[in-house]
């Protein structure tokens, strides 16, 4: 059996490291020596992969990063195939512009996780930072496709300018959840903080618990049994997530908004059955 390509961090680097060159597509058929000599941006310097990590294994279609820390940025940037599994926390821009494949982080992730991601699956076993699935300044869109699962909590501005795809948060989400959202689906099992749905244009935000306060620019459209939710929740059954246990049939309160901004978005608050 082939051994997975494993990068074990030797020690915590002094500066942040841009790990974008380490994706299955870019490593391809490179041998260990070639991989070790890849130079990574770190601060205003460049350091070799071999100096930063103990590298072993050969199956570069599935990269394992061990003993990771929150200074490793841009893990899986633009990756189009294969898998990356990280043990430990990661820095910002995890899965930035990801085109396909699977990233699993057994730890926390930093800001702008899944920004500009187009397809594939991204799972964070810990918490995600701010701007999860959001657009970086200057970009038009945040998440553009694929599925993002957060086992823990997420920070502020989840799904800012998100365009398509699904974000499932098992814990709580911070303020401005689904702000300026354009389309797609966000579901939060825990609580959301202030300004939920601020300037939301379209899209769906599903909340297990009602927020403490709602913006005045959302209109209550009453309680509903929405058939499509049955199919949506069923599609979550196969996920490695608490969302797989979501009840098949839930009555929801539907709030439409943000009416200051087109008002075609919806916040669905699950009602106790």
């Amino acid at each position: 059996m082939m051994h997975l390509l494993t990068l074990k961090l030797k020690s915590i680097p002094r500066f942040r490291v841009d790990l974008s060159p380490i994706t299955p597509d870019q490593l391809g058929k490179k041998n260990l020596q070639e991989i070790c000599s890849i130079r990574l941006e770190s601060g205003n310097q460049k350091i070799c992969v071999g100096d930063l990590f103990n590298v072993s294994g050969s199956e570069s279609n599935h990269i394992v990063i061990k003993d990771s820390c929150d200074k490793l940025d841009r893990i899986g940037q633009n990756m189009g195939t294969g898998a990356i599994t990280v043990h430990g926390s990661v820095g910002s821009y995890t899965g930035f512009g990801m085109r396909d494949g699977r990233i699993t982080i057994h730890g926390n992730s930093g800001d702008y996780t899944a920004s500009g991601m187009k397809k594939g699956a991204l799972e964070i076993r810990g918490n995600a930072g701010h701007f999860l699935a959001s657009a970086i300044p200057g970009d038009k869109y945040g998440l553009m496709g694929g599925i993002v699962i957060i086992n823990g909590d997420a920070g502020d501005r989840v799904g800012d300018r998100m365009r398509r795809g699904t974000v499932l948060i098992e814990g709580n989400a911070g303020a401005y959840c689904a702000s300026r959202m354009l389309a797609g689906t966000i579901a939060v099992m825990g609580k959301t903080a202030d300004f939920t749905g601020f300037a939301m244009k379209r899209g769906t935000l599903i909340l297990r618990n009602a927020p403490d306060s709602m913006l005045a620019t959302f209109s209550d459209c009453g309680n509903h049994d929405l058939l499509y939710l049955k199919f949506l929740f069923k599609s979550w059954r196969k996920l490695h997530s608490k969302f797989s246990e979501f009840p098949a049939q839930v009555r929801v309160q539907r709030l439409m908004g943000d009416r200051a901004c087109d008002g075609k978005g919806e916040i669905l608050i699950c009602q106790d059955t």
Partner: protein, 556 residues
């Protein structure tokens, strides 16, 4: 310091040298005649088997000013995807379609360009434009001030003021904005757009000022002629990109009434209305008119396939094209009621009928215009393509088999609509040297540029001989700027400051009295702050030298 360049094959059309093998001597930044035999030669370069030309000149490239900055701000993806790392000599920079000032200077120099001219300096934005140009290293710079859509000018014309007064205003603008020429963009059209007109033909009236583009063109070409400004009126004609624009382009040529006129990015103005798509090539008609009218010069504005961004003062056409934006974002705005600006990112695709035919039309014009002294090689950077595509464009012009092989890959219906496949002409190195060196220098009135005769600035480019012009022109062996070696094998080896080129035509200062009253009534800035002084210009350019080119005022 005396430098000797030995045995290069010299292509210097301004001095009728077509592949002459000779030595060149350079002293104190200038080309000098052969010194006495006992003179000490400090440096010698053996150029045996190499090709030598003067530094290339791009007379129409958007490298600084308001809209370039908007394009930069709007396209972070362009900057993220194209990063140049710092070296011991060069600073880090980025951008391809809308490169930073540094990337612009480095890349132009690496390709053997030593002078670039920003064609749309809005006088109110001139300070910003000069600062950006001043920040662009190595290459010489200059700008054309925009007139013809500003209210002061249109008011004067509407009031039927004397040509002499208008000449004074034009000259005053050249002084105030520190420019080398005048450009008019969609004459009257930018202003008409603000009065809710969405198209303005050459003989159509502006709904408020009751002026036609023809009158504006006539007045401005006359003004530059009277003032003796070397560069004729630089015209971005009416109806850019519209099928049927070939007609208005021909009328525009006629509006100059025999006076010199330069029509810019003419490819975008050479579209007919024939065929199933009601979009066809007007290149043959346009080229015929250029061949016939010796007062007309043009630059092409060739498009190349790929991602770029269009940045133009022509808010009317940019507003019309905004729905083509790719990526989907655009800006169309007014600037201080003086003119407008539109920035629309574009992706030209070879499998798109219109884009494919645009590409073919540009090449048809290149190949059908017979006099290389009156047609210049541009892509209207970045509107047709980034300037880095010039080597590829030169190959398309010099190698007909290559051209035909690329032609066979474009949209099939476009191939049927173009005569490009039957044009056998291939540009020679001599003709390329004319259209990229000698001719632009001549039409801009740059006596020290574009040639390597005695007395010229020692802006010299040395190329490896190569059967593939694209490889040859992409990475010259040596680039000398004012006698200093600035690039070697396509990499920067020294950073210098380029000159800034301006003209200062004579005029009657009484015009300023009227302007002062106008400024106080309508403008957001004080007239004295509007004008850029010589010292300030130098400061904008980090102390770069100012070259003032003479004007020969003609009695009106």
């Amino acid at each position: 310091m005396l430098i000797k360049l030995v045995g290069g094959k010299v292509y210097d059309p301004a001095n009728n040298e077509n592949g002459v093998i000779r030595d060149i001597f350079v002293q104190d930044g200038c080309i000098v005649s052969r010194p006495h035999d006992h003179s000490r030669i400090d440096e010698t370069y053996d150029l045996n088997g190499k090709i030598v030309m003067a530094g290339a000149i791009d007379l129409h490239t958007h490298i600084g000013g308001g809209k370039v900055n908007i394009a930069r701000a709007m396209l972070p993806e362009d900057h993220r995807q194209d990063i140049l790392e710092r070296s011991n000599l060069t600073r880090s920079c980025c951008g391809r379609a809308a490169p930073s000032t540094l990337a612009t200077g480095y890349r132009y120099t690496e390709m053997g360009y030593t002078a670039c001219f920003e064609p749309a300096v809005l006088p109110i934005n001139a300070r910003q434009a000069h600062m950006e140009m001043g920040d662009t290293p190595i290459v010489d710079k200059g700008g054309y001030a925009l007139l013809g859509n500003d209210d002061f000018f249109l008011r004067m014309m509407a009031a039927n003021e004397d040509q002499q007064l208008i000449n004074d205003y034009v000259a005053w603008t050249l002084h105030a904005a520190k420019c080398i020429g005048i450009k008019v963009v969609n004459p009257g059209g930018i202003s008409a757009f603000k009065f809710n007109q969405r198209k303005l033909d050459v003989d159509e009236e502006h709904s408020y000022y009751r002026l036609t583009p023809r009158q504006i063109l006539k007045t401005l070409t006359r003004a530059l002629h009277d003032l003796g400004v070397p560069h004729p009126l630089h015209v971005h004609a009416s109806n850019l990109g519209v099928p049927g624009s070939d007609d208005s382009t021909l009328i525009t040529m006629g509006a100059a009434e025999g006076l010199p006129i330069h029509i810019t990015h003419i490819q975008f103005h050479s579209y007919g209305t024939e065929g199933d798509y009601k979009f066809s090539s007007g290149a043959a008609r346009i080229a015929e008119a250029i061949n016939k009218n010796s007062n007309v010069s043009v630059d092409v504005g060739q498009i190349m396939f790929g991602q770029t961004v269009t940045a133009s003062g022509d808010n009317m056409s940019q507003h019309r094209n905004a729905h083509h934006a790719n990526p989907k974002k655009w800006v169309v705005m007014d600037i201080e009621c003086d003119a407008g600006c539109g920035v629309v990112p574009f992706k030209y695709r070879d499998k798109n009928f219109v884009n494919a035919l645009q590409w073919a039309i540009g090449l048809e014009i290149f190949l059908l215009v017979q006099d290389p002294w009156r047609i210049f090689l541009t892509t209207d950077h970045p509107n047709g393509a980034p300037f880095t595509s010039y080597p590829h464009l030169i190959k398309l012009l010099m190698d007909k088999s290559f051209r035909k092989s690329v032609l066979s890959t474009i949209h099939a219906d476009a191939i049927k609509m173009t005569t490009l496949g039957s044009i056998e002409r291939e540009y020679s190195l001599y003709e390329i040297a004319i259209m990229t060196r000698a001719a632009p220098a001549k039409i801009l009135g740059l006596s020290g540029h574009g040639h390597i005769g005695v007395g010229a600035n020692a802006d010299i480019v040395v190329y490896h001989t190569n059967d593939d012009p694209e490889i040859m022109f992409a990475k010259p062996l040596y680039v000398f700027k004012r006698g200093e070696l600035v690039a070697k094998d396509g990499a920067i080896v020294k950073i210098t400051l380029g000159d800034i080129h301006i003209v200062k035509p004579e005029f009657d200062g009484a015009i300023e009295k009227r302007l002062r009253a106008y400024f106080e009534r309508y403008h957001t800035v004080n007239l004295d702050n509007f004008k850029i002084s010589d010292d300030e210009l130098s400061e904008c350019g980090n102390g770069s030298r100012m070259t003032i080119h003479p004007c020969n005022k003609r009695p009106s």
